[in-house]
């Protein structure tokens, strides 16, 4: 088992940071009543950990007996869908965006199933079951509207906890029906502390300098920090202070892509970049992350005088990216625009000589 999973806190008492929020959440579950929740925050901030803590607080240790199931659905157009669910007697967890544009069917069916079957266990602490939906910001508009209706209809015996990285893509109708809880990313010093304490539990000695470097490389993503730490251990143990920290392959990939763009601004490069973008997207790298990494890389290499234009364009295109569904259109448009700006700049430079 990976370190990140092995030492994941199981109840509120063991949480390492955001302790005040933890007490608030704990108080929230004390009462019999419990609202729908929308937990959001950056990756690796501990959203999921907090959700499991809430579940445990609500239902006791029984909620940890998990079983995995593949559920089958049929769309109105008779297409068969399969989706993985993780459930206990008290809750069910599903990521509806796995089935792409058919997410609406999954949401409606699962919530209906859960909501219509009453809590059978008489000794159960609560009258309701919990449905956990992950990646709600990737849901289609259609699914979100469906969710809104079902949320109201089945509130008597079903609560929904949603998990998202950002609520900008969640329709207001949903976020207003939920208690929104933001889980901010832990600070670097917190990450260093956690790395140290985790390593102590594993009997690994982690030099403070390396811990700091890992925390920096993790980009305040605790899960990633733990993973990097473990990866470093695989590559070289005992640790040394100036050990190489493996860089994420997709980041390297995007950097290469940026290199191509800077090297030659032509239609061929554009087509090349499109292929790369397709590869990234089809491997589930979120478009927003691609955009951010790419922009950072491009800005690093471009002159101060064009940065303003580039950032302006990036802002415009990223906005479109969030609003629309066809991400590749906007990514490519930004790349083309950058090529144009960069080329004009280079030509002016050479014109001066």
């Amino acid at each position: 088992m990976l370190l990140a999973d092995k030492y994941r806190p199981k109840d509120f008492a063991n949480l390492d940071y955001h302790k005040e929020q933890a007490t608030n959440l704990k108080n929230l579950t004390k009462d019999g009543e419990f609202p729908h929740l929308l937990v959001y925050g950056p990756l690796g901030a501990g959203k999921k950990t907090r959700i499991t803590c809430i579940l445990r607080e609500l239902f006791g240790p029984g909620v940890e007996r998990l079983k995995m199931e593949t559920m089958n659905f049929t769309t109105p157009s008779n297409k068969k869908l399969e989706i993985m669910t993780i459930s206990s007697n008290y809750h069910i967890e599903v990521n509806p965006s796995d089935v792409g544009i058919y997410d609406r069917v999954v949401i409606m069916d699962i919530i209906k199933n859960v909501a219509q079957s009453q809590q059978l266990n008489v000794n159960a602490a609560r009258e309701f079951k919990v449905v956990i939906l992950t990646d709600v910001d990737n849901l289609t508009k259609d699914a979100q509207h469906a969710l809104r209706r079902t949320m109201e209809k089945y509130i008597a015996n079903c609560r929904i906890i949603m998990c998202a990285t950002s609520i900008s893509r969640v329709i207001p109708a949903i976020s207003s029906r939920c208690l929104c809880i933001r889980v901010p990313a832990p600070e670097e010093s917190v990450i260093v502390d956690i790395l140290q304490s985790t390593c102590k539990k594993e009997d690994i000695s982690l030099p403070p300098v390396l811990a700091k470097r890992i925390a920096q490389a993790s980009n305040r993503n605790l899960r990633r920090a733990l993973l990097i730490c473990e990866t470093c251990k695989v590559e070289q143990y005992p640790f040394s202070d100036d050990q190489k920290i493996p860089e994420l392959d997709w980041e390297v990939f995007i950097k290469k892509m940026a290199g191509k763009i800077l090297e030659n601004q032509s239609i061929e490069t554009l087509s090349n970049v499109r292929k790369d973008l397709y590869e990234l997207l089809s491997n589930d790298i979120p478009a927003g992350v691609i955009f951010e990494t790419l922009l950072r890389e491009l800005l690093r290499k471009s002159d101060v005088s064009i940065r303003e234009t580039v950032i302006k364009e990036a802002a415009e295109h990223e906005h479109r990216l969030v609003q629309g569904n066809k991400q590749i259109f906007h990514l490519e448009s930004f790349v083309a625009k950058f090529m144009y700006v960069y080329q004009t700049f280079m030509q002016e430079m050479f014109g001066d000589f």
């Binding site: 990976l2 999973d5 990756l43 690796g44 998990l66 995995m68 399969e82 989706i83 993985m84 993780i86 990521n95 796995d98 792409g100 992950t134 899960r223 990633r224 993973l227 990097i228 473990e230 990866t231 695989v234 590559e235 493996p246 994420l248 392959d249 997709w250 390297v252 990939f253 032509s266 239609i267 554009l270 087509s271 499109r274 397709y278 590869e279 990234l280 997207l281 089809s282 491997n283 589930d284 790298i285 979120p286 992350v289 295109h317 479109r320 609003q323 629309g324 569904n325 066809k326 590749i328 259109f329 490519e332 448009s333 790349v335 083309a336 625009k337 090529m339 144009y340 080329q343 004009t344």
Partner: protein, 473 residues
Amino acid sequence: MNRTKKFKQWESFDFGPATSTEKSKPRKDDSNVTKRKQYVKPNSSTSNKALNFHKELAPVAVSDLAVHPKKIEEVENWLKFAVFQDKSKTAKFLLLTGPTGSGKTATLSVLCKTLGISITEWITPIDQEYEYNRTNQIEQFSEFLFDAKYPSLFESSLNRLTLVEDFPNAVIRNPEQFCEILESCRYINQPIAFICTEAHNANVNLQRTLFPDEVLLKFNINHISFNSCAARQLKLALKRAEALVKSNPDVLKQPSSTVIDAILASADGDIRNAMNQFHMASLLGSGDLPTVKISTEEEKPGKRKRSKDSVKLDVMNKDQSLGLFHGLGRVLQPKRKQLGNSWRLVKNVGSLVDEFSIQPQMFMSFLFENYPKYFGDITDAAKAANILSSSVLLLDNWDRHESLEFALWNSILGLMVVNEHKVSKWNQIRGPVRIVKKDTNKIQEEWNGVRYSPMDQYYHNIIKKSDRCHKFE
């Protein structure tokens, strides 16, 4: 047997009900109404003669057909095989497809006449009849096909062919049922021919709904597809018509050569249409058919580019439907006309937009996939990409039908205008790439239900020393 029509006096060219002269007159604007009244009378007296026009012209011999000889041969071979040679106890099916007026029905009937085969055709009964019979259309239809093996009492010929051109509506709505009917008459020792008109619109394209490839394969249906009439063939047919006009100078007059050219240009390979036009033009009372100069601003069929002053019939502006690829070509390779310092687009953008307003998403994906190959300069490409990205945003967030159209207008007009450094070479059109996401279920299962972010999977590969997850090279 009301519903079966005997073809003994079959008019080979199925022109529909013979057009009376009044109907066939070119519809001019209202100012001409008085003028028309004047010549209604003389024409009506000769309407009997006029009725025969198409009959006279109907092809009798194989040589009269305005169809490619190869196609005729194909059909003939099938007929010979199915009616005379093949003695197996199974039904033989033939499917003829082609655009309107390409001579499908004519070919079949002329060949049957020459080979001595009698045709029994299914005509969908009108509503009243089956109210009495208390059976539905589908039952009647299958019964008809089944009964076809019994020779008619009025018909001495033993060689028979069953023809279905007028498919019952119930069957069209329910293609599975059609399959069942085919299945049921599989073992009737009787050749059956189906005729389907090709249509661009998928909804009315019978061939696609009733005869998909698997049906063709399953029932061993012989499929012969007709092309629209070649210009040469049309010309020959019109020559025959001219000869007919010459022999009847008392009722018909010779249309001017410009009109004939216009007819040829606007018929678009549809011989029925051409004949109707010719008939109209040759009527004694009528003046010259109003024609439209095909100026460069109007839509101009590419083939007739050479003759500068080519004309088209005003009345006969058919709704041309562009195929997807044709439409893409128009957008990606726009033709321009220089006007002093500025230029104009040659093609009408509005009609393009109309054409694809049913599936704008699909058209947009095709445009996106293919536009870079037609651009020679990154400046233009950046503009085009920007246009596409803004249009697709409109498409994604549409609330009314209009916004779909705005999106199409934006993208089509934008791409046509922006491309200043066009790459004019043949490019293969590629279909849009569909982003196929990996099946994450399996990986998740292996990891005891924990789902790792795809962004972190690289570390998993290293820690677990596996290459379970995708690696970016």
